[in-house]
């Protein structure tokens, strides 16, 4: 079972690398969105500092959306999704593997580039490590919840916008606790409660996404 999941993850990561543009595009978009804020708000360091964590998180959520619609769409278009449904591999496992692959190809590059944007947004020095840790804990939820949305819109020709409307409200808990956790650490307050709630949400999404998305795919193919 694990071997099959690893095969699907390896395949999707390889496809994303061969495709090339996908991850680069997402990271480029992430950088562009964050860069807009100093231009729009002005270079006052204390204001930038105050909004830095929030802006980085919001930009990460939006960038994550960019690549979501392709999660199952390409497999649907070339017929691979039918074969996955027919194969002995449980569809739930396929969904988990594809969500993990999405996280590896989208969120991981975002997390890697986030400290750089932190510098630009005047993030306090003690905030860099917490930002990375909290993003590592919170972004898997983006891929899992996104997987549900992607599976619901897989058979729609222009599902991208609908997908954003469906999914963004569900991202709000990640945003709230992700930002609070980092800010609490910077301010020297206990952040454990926020981190635990964030982890809880990530685990919750990981637990429901496979079943919900697999059911959505099965009914979508009808």
């Amino acid at each position: 079972m694990l071997k099959l999941a690893l095969m699907i993850i390896a395949r999707d990561v390889r496809l994303s690398m061969r495709h090339g543009s996908a991850s680069t595009l997402v990271v480029g978009f992430f950088i562009m969105v964050v860069t807009m804020f100093p231009f729009a708000i002005g270079p006052e360091q204390n204001i930038l500092q105050r909004i830095s964590v929030g802006v980085i998180w919001v930009a990460a959520l939006l960038s994550c959306l960019l690549s979501l619609d392709r999660m199952f769409q390409t497999d649907y278009e070339d017929g691979s999704l039918d074969q996955f449904v027919l194969s002995p591999v449980p569809l739930e496992l396929v969904v988990v593997a594809k969500c993990i692959a999405h996280w590896l190809t989208t969120s991981l590059p975002l997390i890697a580039i986030a400290p750089l944007l932190g510098v630009m947004m005047n993030l306090p020095a003690e905030g860099f490590l917490p930002l990375i840790y909290v993003m590592l804990l919170g972004t898997p939820a983006l891929s899992f919840i996104g997987g549900i949305g992607a599976s619901l819109t897989v058979t729609l020709r222009r599902g991208g916008v609908l997908l954003s409307l469906l999914i963004l409200p569900l991202y709000i808990p990640v945003l709230i606790f992700g930002v609070l956790a980092v800010k609490a650490t910077i301010g020297g307050y206990p952040a454990m409660a926020h981190i635990m709630l964030l982890c809880g949400f990530t685990l919750f999404s990981a637990a429901i996404a496979p079943w919900a998305a697999a059911a959505a795919i099965r009914s979508g193919l009808q």
């Binding site: 071997k3 395949r11 496809l15 061969r18 390409t74 070339d78 074969q83 027919l86 194969s87 009808q222």
Partner: protein, 224 residues
């Protein structure tokens, strides 16, 4: 590889509705081992829908599909062990090479067939290391057929298997399908051309005969 199953796959009164439009109803067929059933019928008569129903991708509105008295319609476990479905689409990733695609599906479908040997049979072995996006549509179809040849399932559902194939390809495929029948496999194929199957081992099912008709006007509505 020899297949020992000696029972008949039977459909009873199958009906299919897509959206609001009834496609066919009361469809009956029998498929013993070593036999082929060639589906014919006008466009939109439900050949592909019938295959998708058997493959469990679509749910039938009513009816049963039984093998040796056991209901197999929508039985995921039975389907994944016995059915090999080749759809219109090839299920190949354009960015990956033919061999990578085939190896991936070999892993997913739990078999370790010799990909190169099977590819030789359908004349695509020289393209194994090429990305699928460089192949012509006929070559891509041959690559997809290689997956069918490697597949452990003994019931082949082939939806227009010859699309894009040249005359030599069609002849090769006919030989391979006849070989599959000889070793006791079953084939359900939708096609508009002559497949070259052994006439003694194949029968024809005209899906149009089971078309659901209410009024003439009903028929003229577009499918979707």
């Amino acid at each position: 590889m020899d297949f020992s199953v000696s029972d008949i796959l039977r459909s009873h009164n199958l009906a299919c509705i897509r959206g609001d439009k009834p496609i066919f109803s009361g469809l009956e067929f029998e498929l013993p081992p070593g036999r082929a059933l060639v589906l014919r019928g006008a466009n939109g008569s439900g050949k592909s829908s019938l295959m998708k129903i058997i493959a469990g991708l679509l749910s039938a509105e009513q009816g049963r599909l039984s093998l040796n008295g056991e209901e197999v319609l929508g039985d995921k476990d039975w389907i994944s062990r016995n059915i090999c479905y080749l759809a219109h689409k090839n299920g190949m990733k354009p960015e990956m090479t033919v061999a990578e695609n085939l190896r991936f599906w070999a892993g997913m479908e739990h078999h370790d067939g010799d990909i190169r040997k099977e590819a030789e049979k359908i004349g695509i072995d020289h393209c194994l290391d090429l990305p699928v996006c460089y192949l012509s549509s006929g070559q891509a179809r041959r690559a997809a057929l290689t997956r069918v040849l490697c597949h452990p399932g003994r019931i082949w559902l082939l939806d227009e298997p010859t699309v894009g194939l040249d005359a030599a390809g069609v002849a090769l495929l006919a030989g391979l399908m006849n070989h599959h029948l000889e070793r006791g496999g079953r084939i359900l194929a939708a096609t508009h051309i002559e497949l070259g199957l052994n006439a003694a081992k194949s029968s024809i099912l005209n899906v149009s005969d089971y078309a659901f008709r209410l009024t003439p006007a009903f028929d003229e509505e577009p499918l979707c």
